[in-house]
């Protein structure tokens, strides 16, 4: 789990080779409440770090999910589109949103590691 990185907007990214998997943090899903809808981008789209990648909605909030890193989308999680509850159940695992082929792995260094993110979240409460 040590290869996981976080943004201050509560997205996480986990890297395997040159493929990055991206989702929202457990803290984020808890804050949102029951997720009722997820809108995912098309495979093949190029994203720069900070671009809007997806939309996640609960009954009372709609949030944009921004890509923490740059790259081309190679896969999206159709399961959470069909069953948005999956985001609440396993935000850090099966509830992932998109997979990217990294175009600039150096961007990862700017993100928080797990310990820093935990501290960051604690500061919010």
């Amino acid at each position: 789990m040590s290869d996981i990185r976080f943004t201050d907007q509560h997205e996480w990214v986990r890297v395997d080779g040159d493929i990055a998997t991206i989702g929202i943090s457990d803290y984020a899903q808890e804050q949102l409440g029951d997720v009722v809808f997820v809108e995912l981008p098309e495979v093949g789209k190029e994203l720069a770090a900070g671009d809007e990648a997806a939309v996640v909605e609960s009954v009372k909030a709609a949030s944009e999910v921004y890509s923490p890193v740059s790259g081309e989308i190679v896969d999206v999680n159709g399961d959470i589109e069909a069953t948005p509850a999956g985001v609440n159940e396993d935000a850090m695992g099966d509830g992932w949103f998109i997979k990217l082929r990294l175009s600039n792995p150096g961007e990862l260094d700017k993100l928080m590691d797990e310990a820093a993110y935990s501290e960051f979240v604690e500061g919010l409460q």
Binding site: F37, S58, V59, K60, A61, A62
Partner: protein
């Protein structure tokens, strides 16, 4: 003052609890320069009787539609509204409740909205409908913005079939929002090929009204086909909802969004408002739809109930990212629509439409026999256009002097457009009797 329950004693006691000497102290945050000491220069309070007299005096200066042979349409139609409708919508629980934000104590409103949405979806032949818009004209504007979101294109084509004031509303919104628009010239009778020729790869939607502004029924099928082939949407506009009791609904002719004016069912003329905009679309576009939506769910005891749903589309949550800035629907007008439509039911709705069509056919035959009058329509429902040997605006004025409200001169809504000065748009509904039509025929003969 009869509407204000606080007495001077109450006010004194309350100021005591607050710890203020006078009510002026409560307004101390108002900058001194803006505090008004005296009364605004307007009349003082009045009793019920006096207020009623004032309105009766104003009312007497109008010719009520029901007091004369009446044939005016052009987007608002006079129909008979069953007595039960007005009685029921005046029940306190409907009339004086707010938007159903607390669903546990607003199931009455929510259930009729669900029934309204179902009725609208059924009669337009679409999958889903929202809980109404302000009216059809603003609904048109919202439909075009929705088509832009769906297609991710920014150019709409407004056909010449569209009510000119609806076009003006869409144009205003598009201009300010920075979208492109192509507005076709008004044309009669047949414009289908012409409309199709305007659809390109850049077109987000094409807006076609049926019955059109001149009363003509239009075939949407080839237009839908052409639009879809270019990746564009077809927005169908229905200005007279009674028509769908007799004619093929837009949903069966390939429309992607249907906007309709629901005033005819349950709602009076009211000099132009409030009316009720109907808005329906395909299931796949529901998240791009503007306006409130009511959905079915269950409560904590597992009982069926209704809530406002998919509200993340709306302004109070999405703020600057909302699908629309609208937060009101046309609540009580959609209740009136729902009740009237419930009274009509399957058979009554079809029969009402049949009677309307028969009334218009009969009127067209009578007026066509007046020398110099030419009926221009091929297919129409309860409204048609005739060419007169004189400017229509003058004719309508002369008819009014003879006690007949004879229709809408096309030039009133198409100022400056050439070739429409002699066109008069005439509607006939179930309210017209044979005597009304005979009176019109006689008056028109005299005026021409």
């Amino acid at each position: 003052m009869r509407y204000l329950p606080l007495t001077e004693t109450d006010r004194r006691e309350m100021l005591g609890v607050i710890g203020a000497k006078s009510v002026d102290e409560l307004f101390r945050d108002v900058p001194e320069s803006a505090r008004r000491e005296g009364l605004v220069d307007l009349p003082r309070r009045k009793g019920e009787l006096e207020v009623e007299r004032i309105f009766s005096r104003m009312a007497a200066k109008n010719v009520a539609a029901g007091s004369a042979p009446f044939f005016v349409g052009g987007g608002a139609y006079r129909h008979h509204v069953p007595a039960a409708v007005d009685h029921l919508i005046q029940r306190s629980e409907f009339l004086t409740s707010y938007t159903p934000y607390q669903p546990e104590i607003a199931q009455g409103t929510l259930q009729y909205l669900f029934e309204f949405q179902t009725q609208v979806a059924m009669i337009t032949g679409m999958d889903v409908a929202n809980a109404s818009m302000y009216d059809a004209s603003t609904g048109c504007g919202e439909a075009v913005l929705m088509a832009h979101r769906v297609t991710k294109r920014r150019k709409a084509v407004l056909s010449g079939t569209l009510h000119p004031q609806y076009s003006a509303v869409v144009k205003n919104l598009s201009d300010f929002a920075g979208y492109k628009l192509e507005i076709m010239a008004p044309a009669l009778p047949d414009t289908v090929e012409d409309i199709i020729s305007h659809i390109t790869d850049e077109t987000s939607c094409v807006v076609v009204q049926t019955p059109g502004f001149f009363g003509e029924l239009h075939d949407l099928r080839p237009i839908a086909e052409a639009a879809h082939a270019k990746g564009a949407l077809l927005i169908a506009v229905v200005p007279e909802i009674v028509s769908l009791g007799a004619v093929t609904p837009p949903g069966e002719m390939g429309a992607d969004i249907v906007v309709a004016e629901g005033q005819s069912i349950g709602n009076g003329l009211n000099f132009g408002g409030p009316y009720v905009g109907l808005f329906a679309t395909r299931e796949k576009y529901v998240r791009q739809m503007p306006g409130r939506l009511c959905g079915e769910t269950v409560d904590a005891d597992g009982k069926r109930g209704f809530v406002l749903t998919l509200s993340t589309r709306e302004q109070h949550i999405r703020r600057e990212k909302a699908t629309s800035n609208i937060c009101t629907n046309s609540g009580l007008c959609c209740l009136a629509f729902t009740i009237h439509m419930s009274l009509l039911g399957e058979d009554g709705y079809a029969q009402l439409a049949r009677i309307n069509h028969a009334a218009a056919v009969s009127l067209a035959e009578k007026l066509a026999s007046v020398p110099g009058v030419e009926i221009l329509n091929k297919a129409f429902f309860n409204e048609f256009t005739m060419r007169l040997p004189k400017p229509a605006a003058e004719v309508v004025d002369a008819l009014a002097d003879k006690g007949v409200l004879g229709g809408v001169p096309a030039s009133r809504l198409l100022p400056g457009v050439k070739g429409v000065e002699d066109l008069l748009i005439v509607a006939s509904t179930e309210i017209n009797t044979d005597a009304d039509r005979a009176a019109y025929q006689a008056a028109l003969k005299e005026v021409l």
